[in-house]
Assembly symmetry: C2
Homo-oligomer: 136 residues x 2
DNA sequence: GCTTATCATCTACATGCGCTTACGATTCCG
DNA sequence: CGGAATCGTAAGCGCATGTAGATGATAAGC
């Protein structure tokens, strides 16, 4: 297929996205976390505790939709939620050791599955780097 | 960032997907077509006329959701819909010259915007090829 | 000190979509 | 020939999500 005959990037990216979701879903279920929960744990993995509003913006989530996800993670001891002493309107979120462990376990399995998928192509590192640049 | 510190493929692909949709939306609006309409026109661009059920499967759409999209495209003279003489249960869909023209005009603009986006990376052809292989 | 704004939370509405069921017309199969 | 299946279409249910508005607590600004 000539270059001008390839599919739209959008079409290819959407198909790949669906495939990745299908790949991740069993891993997430095995660990008992939803996709949103995993996204939250991953976002909280690095850096210091952060506010709910800041987290919602970072992961492109509606803040009102985040409330029950955070409630559940907190209840399961995976995150902690504390008022910011500097501004008691704000709740600061951080991972507990258990939350960090779970996030790392899930991510390790996702990585392994990604490696299998990526093994279909050559120059995997270049592809991933380019994907990172385009999605930054 | 080391390899084991990169974001999940899923996260990067979802972000790229949102970016591509945001890029395409104004182009589609300018031409007065919805995303689904454009997907249909593109799917019908090549090959002979095809059945509605076959089209729905090809573009990953619910066949009952496709009815109004096809109704509108037909009404606007962009596709034609005719009973298959070999099996009158089936309606065969094809592009009209006008539909083909519109699809090509939209796709040309999308391609141009994609080129701008891709210009951020090196080895663009390799990236697109790899993306094609992973999403096939 | 009072007004405005922000944070988190709750509730509700609207939209899109996956899925299911049902129907009439038509075809297939035993 | 009759029953089962398919196609396209219509209608509806349920879920997910974006969005808006309201609330109490708290903070900022004049």
């Amino acid at each position: 297929m000539a270059d001008n005959e390839r599919a739209d990037l959008g079409a290819m990216v959407m198909r790949l996205g669906r495939r990745l979701v299908a790949m991740e879903q069993p891993i997430l279920e095995r660990h008992g976390v939803t996709m949103w929960a995993y996204v939250v744990l991953t976002a909280l993995r690095d850096g210091p505790a952060r506010a709910q509003a800041s987290l919602a913006a970072a992961i492109n989530a509606d803040k009102t939709r985040l409330i029950p996800v955070l409630d559940d993670l907190q209840k399961r001891g995976l995150i902690e939620r504390e008022p910011d002493p500097a501004d008691r309107r704000v709740r600061l979120l951080g991972l507990t050791p258990e939350g960090r462990r779970l996030q790392q376990a899930v991510q390790a399995e996702i990585r392994a599955a990604e490696e299998v998928m990526l093994s279909k192509i050559k120059d995997q590192a270049a592809f991933v780097r380019a994907l990172g640049e385009l999605s930054a």
